[in-house]
């Protein structure tokens, strides 16, 4: 990838990330933090590539640690986010209390 294409992608992705969550209400701050924490769990893919191409034992060891941590990031953050968001049930319109 040419350097400039990389910069274009970087610029556009940054705008997208910024704008997409710009209207988040305060009550979703913590779940959204957790959710974006999950999204960078994509580091797992990089870790798999690193371990998949590791040759020396040292490389394998670090690569193994990388996959271990990446998988934990992805799996853990998913569960935690899901548990937090599960609680935002759509309202049951109690009517008499609003």
């Amino acid at each position: 990838m040419s350097g400039f294409l990389a910069l274009y992608i970087f610029m556009l992705a940054a705008f997208t990330g910024y704008e997409v969550i710009a209207r988040v209400p305060v009550i979703l701050h913590t779940p959204l933090m957790s959710g974006s924490n999950f999204v960078h769990g994509i580091v797992l893919v990089g870790a798999m590539v690193a371990l998949g191409h590791a040759q020396t034992p040292v490389e394998q060891a670090i690569g193994f640690a990388a996959v271990l941590m990446g998988a934990a990031n992805a799996a853990g953050a998913y569960v935690v986010t899901e548990r937090m968001l599960e609680m935002f049930k759509p309202s049951r319109k109690p009517g008499d209390g609003a």
Binding site: L28, P31, A54, K93
Partner: protein, 473 residues
Amino acid sequence: MSDWISILINASYLLAALLFILGLKRMSSPRTARGGVVWAGLGMLLATVATFFLPGMHNFALIGLALVLGGAVAWVTGRRVAMTSMPQMVAIYNGLGGGAAAAIGAVELWRFAGPPQGASQLSNAALVAVSTIALAVLGSLIGAVSFSGSMIAFAKLQGWIDRRFVFSGQRLINGLLFLLLVAAGVLLVWGQLSPQLVIAFFILALLLGVMMTLPIGGADMPVVISLYNALTGLAVAVDGFVLQNEAMIVAGTVVGAAGTLLTQLMARAMNRSLGNVLFGNFGGGGATSEQEIGGAQKPIDAADAAVMMAYAERVVIVPGYGLAVAQAQHKVWEFAQLLIQRGVKVRFAIHPVAGRMPGHMNVLLAEAGVPYDLIADMDDINPEFPNTDVALVIGANDVVNPVAKTDPSSPIYGMPILDVGAAKNIIVIKRGRGTGFAGIENALFYADNTRMLFGDGQQAVGALVTEVKMVDG
């Protein structure tokens, strides 16, 4: 490796990136938030499966083992942990992501630093572009800082480190540490790529993360975690450039940008600037600017309080940190439902920084099953207090402290507060005369129309429930 497999892999990555963005978008609106994480999860699954089919991959057994091990442990822990410990779980998973990013950088740097492979006479470092080494160094640096910093944040929230760790000359030392790191990084990029230097570089980076986080108070941790979250995103994006993986670049950058904005939003909701959080003094320690307040706190017993609310027309419940400590959310909702059945109009008023993390109260009330149209935020509810018969404050203190409006020397001066004092009657549930997070007295508790219902949140509300049930016999 046939051509269409590579197309399928690339398409999976593209789709994953799309799902991540759509997922985040959905997660930022209450009605769609639950679906959002599922979308993002599908993206992750797709990207992970696709990666197995990349050309030239080895060590499948190791990959599978690490994947299952890391994933299973984290999954089970995440399922089991108490709802109140969510912030520290976010911290630890974020730290692990940073660690993974650092480790990816480490593998690459180690390879570049190692002896020539194959037939080449040149060192490996001479075969890769300077920009690639520079990116690997940058990704490692950010990832490692995020890793160790998040771990300290975790330890603080978990209560393992319960004091801020401040000494004179701290900033100077952190500054020197940073300069050393930069020097080591520059050396790595320009030619001195030796295994020893790589190790030293990582030790320095981990140390910096620790040193940066230690002086920050436990209560500021949500903001700090959000910052490290953004940093991990950035590290992942940088690693993506090293590995030429677009899904990593896009997802990492999106998180980096979204996380930066979120950090600012969080700091703003707490009425702090980011600089203040990172280098300020207030927070966690408890600045005590005690004042004399005239009058006395007037107690009330549960039976009287219950009758007062049972016959009220409008009741507003204001939950605070004490509700979370007492785990009283379920009892409170039970109580509110009893009132609603009696025809009382009940609403919950949530201050943006009530509790110890943004959205803390919302999460707890949601957990207890309170529908979110009964929940009002500060701007909506404040004009309604004058029409409120009873405001029931449960374990909240700073967020209803009128001193924020009146005394410029107070540490919370300028923070918008819930206008509870305007209600006709106020009932406050707390255990005693303890102060809140900011450590200051609260004139509201001494007001003429305020009654104190002393006791642990859970028990006090439990008593209210019992008494309300008895009102009609």
